[in-house]
Symmetry: C2
Subunit: 451 residues, 2 copies
């Protein structure tokens, strides 16, 4: 199977297996492009995913292909690298071997160095029963599900004759006021207040209610306070209702329940709920811990040494959101840098050099709030408004994978931001999916009416 | 609900209901833009669909949004028109009223004129059990399902160590050699023989086998013989195996069975099967017949008069693929022209003028075989090769709905035809879908192996 991989003659190939091809895995693989190693990338999907733009898929701006290029196409010119579809289900750290499952078949693969980069999934803080009513924003399927619900809710609202139910269908509750929640709430507001103008005859989409909730007392908690204030002002100008210090205590088909003292917030009837409140490490963290004797922290992450390796197992690296090191946050930038660091450490060792310590270079963080409005910290600078939005645009474009995706994305952004188009709105098999938008059987139910 | 519709003062609004918003329904609605009527478009999905380009969605060239614009966005400037999501389940021709179902609710809507344009679905000629293993090419969901199977089969082939199973995973059988089947087979061949170069390490996608079968003895039966011969030559140069006069007698997870005398064709092991062999009219045809006393022909279509109306019911029009008139074929062009004719007839009657007879103007037909290669008849002209392909390009662009879609589609075509990109390849939730590519439990099964 490896006959086509070119390696320096006479060298027994050092086998690097990378599990997961998000930012951490992809940047590790790329950093090994010219290394005298044989790289295998294993992912459970066929695509890399630009997670920070998932909210644009959910709100009809970008297509799947624009944010999720095929891994094997991205890495096609890297002749020492192969890409395999599968779910890693077991690790034998003694024999240096992984058990992998693909559809109904199990297979094994050996490694000399292992980079685990399977990231994090949404966390419901022990309330997994919220998930059916409030999808997270971590995978392509999550984002497509949310897209189907958002546009489906407007379709049902246009038909609804009961004003109470219509209001419920036009209320969108986003839980979690980090960058994902802020961006999602901002885009739902722009979409409904601006982009769908003239689309309806019975409802006025400008009357859509968008509610952003967070149990903490800060919006964009990792940003400086001055930018938090600007973000709040921009969101409010967009018509987003922001309620901080409000914990969500229940989510079901009918709406959201909170611990707020304001009676109007204790129960918010809403057809569409989005959960952007927290993350938990991928379950593969537990597998790594069981195989190596490593610990997992409360979030399910693996504490690693300064070389990004598991203590006692210098050949097993954990990078990105699954890694616990120096309290680093779960950012794309941390994943990229730690993935590259693991790759470079492998190469240094092969060359007989000692491992270096991983030092995260904070290049800044940013969040868009609406078109033309963002907040960003870049080194000592704090930007907001149009300048921050331009910076956001350039940084995101430069990190988008593949030339075609950049061109296509610029075209889509031009249409969405300068124009008012939301071209990617096709709801597939709506019959099967829109049930979830109906009130629960116990709730008062009105018959919709067309005329 | 109709307060925003502007109508000439004092005129009671003449209510036109259009059921289905494919080419027939959309062109009927557009033709009523300036008419003194109140138009309601009812569709079971939120999108119009450019069906002739579904094969490009299946092969990773175009995104959903590029071929499926939201109906309400397309018609947003038409102030006398509203768009409602629903499935028409009953017609009361006496009371001039429709029963509609949306998710779990039923509602009714009255009409003065009715245009039924629900088109046709795939026909399996009495073998509906073929459908699970061989999806048709009629809806967005069909095309996404086929896309997921095509790219999923290559993923599994890359992992497969058994050469027999690998060959099965790399064999694609398209049944039906009309334009859809020819275009699909040609694109699968281009995709595998050209576009996925360097993507794999264990398999050589250029060794993919693409088989095109048809029970009839002609390829593109509606085209002149000279163009049929050229199509055959082009397909064969692309590496497509074409077998005419071969009836498919069975389709299951393992492959396709035929009545061929050639033993090698009696059983073709293939993971991915596409059914493009026949159409049957939408089930709403039967409902129209039951309500009006009209007959349905063998294909389930409603024979209409020269005004496109149901005999005895001048207020009920049937257009497009659901209409049976003068042996007209099921083409987008026929649907558009008959939809516009029905709309104009309604307006003429409102003005007290007599209905005119529908005359189909044959503007020609075309099919692409590969990039830069097509066949076309335009009036007395027969084109093939690059010139025909250019004509195809211009005609399809001019009929694509919406400016943004034209720009985006030109960009995607440039990448796909001049470059070699297939950006739209993201397979979502592959775990749930790739089971179907596995051999049936009875068949000999090998464990896949990664190393």
């Amino acid at each position: 199977m490896t006959s086509s991989v070119s390696l320096p003659e006479g060298t027994p190939a050092h086998r690097v297996v990378i599990v997961g091809c998000g930012f951490g895995g992809l940047f590790a693989a790329r950093a090994l492009k010219r290394a005298p190693v044989e790289v295998t990338v294993i992912d459970r999907t066929n695509h890399h995913l630009f997670q920070p733009l998932l909210y644009q898929l959910s709100t009809g701006i970008l297509s799947e292909g624009e944010i999720a290029p095929p891994i094997r196409d991205v890495l096609r010119r890297q002749r020492n690298t192969r890409v395999l579809l599968g779910d890693v289900v077991g690790i034998d750290a003694q024999r240096r071997s992984l058990s992998v499952r693909t559809v109904d078949s199990n297979w094994k693969i050996g490694y000399d160095s292992l980079i685990v980069a399977t990231g994090a999934a949404q966390s419901y803080f022990g309330h997994d029963e919220f998930a059916a009513a409030a999808p997270g924003v971590k995978t392509l399927d999550d984002a497509l599900e949310i897209r189907s619900r958002i546009f489906g809710a407007f379709e049902l609202a246009e038909l609804e004759t009961d004003p109470v139910q219509r209001e419920r269908l036009m209320t969108f509750v986003v839980t979690g006021a980090g960058p994902t929640g802020v961006e999602m709430a901002g885009q739902i507001a722009e979409l409904s207040h601006r982009a769908m103008r003239r689309n309806f005859r019975s409802i006025d989409p400008r009357r859509t209610r968008v509610v952003l909730l967070d149990g903490g007392h800060e919006l964009l908690a990792s940003f400086p306070e001055s930018l938090q204030r600007r973000t709040l002002a921009t969101l409010e100008r967009l018509g987003v209702e922001v309620h901080l210090g409000v914990m969500v205590t229940g989510v079901d088909a009918d709406g959201v329940a909170t611990n707020s003292e304001d009676p109007a917030l204790q129960r918010i009837p809403a057809a569409v709920k989005v959960w952007a409140a927290g993350v938990q490490a991928s379950p593969l963290g537990r597998t790594v811990a069981d195989a190596t004797g490593a610990t997992v922290d409360r979030a399910g992450r693996i504490p690693v040494g300064k070389d990004c390796a598991v203590p006692g197992h210098p050949e097993i690296f954990v990078v990105g959101d699954l890694m616990s090191l120096d309290d680093l946050p779960g950012l794309a930038e941390v994943a990229m840098q730690s993935g590259m660091h693991a790759a470079r450490t492998i190469v240094r060792r092969l060359r007989g050099k000692p491992a270096e310590q991983f030092k995260y270079r904070d290049l800044g963080t940013m969040a868009t709030i609406s078109r033309f409005r963002a907040v960003a910290t870049i080194g000592p600078f704090r930007l907001s408004g149009f300048i921050a939005w331009l910076a956001w645009l350039l940084v995101h474009l430069s990190f988008l994978t593949g030339f075609k995706n950049r061109i296509a994305t610029v075209a889509s952004w031009t249409v969405a931001f300068i124009g008012r188009g939301r071209p990617e709105r096709a709801v597939t098999a709506p019959q099967a999916r829109l049930d979830i938008l109906e009130p629960s059987p116990g709730a008062a139910k009105q018959t919709t009416g067309g005329s």
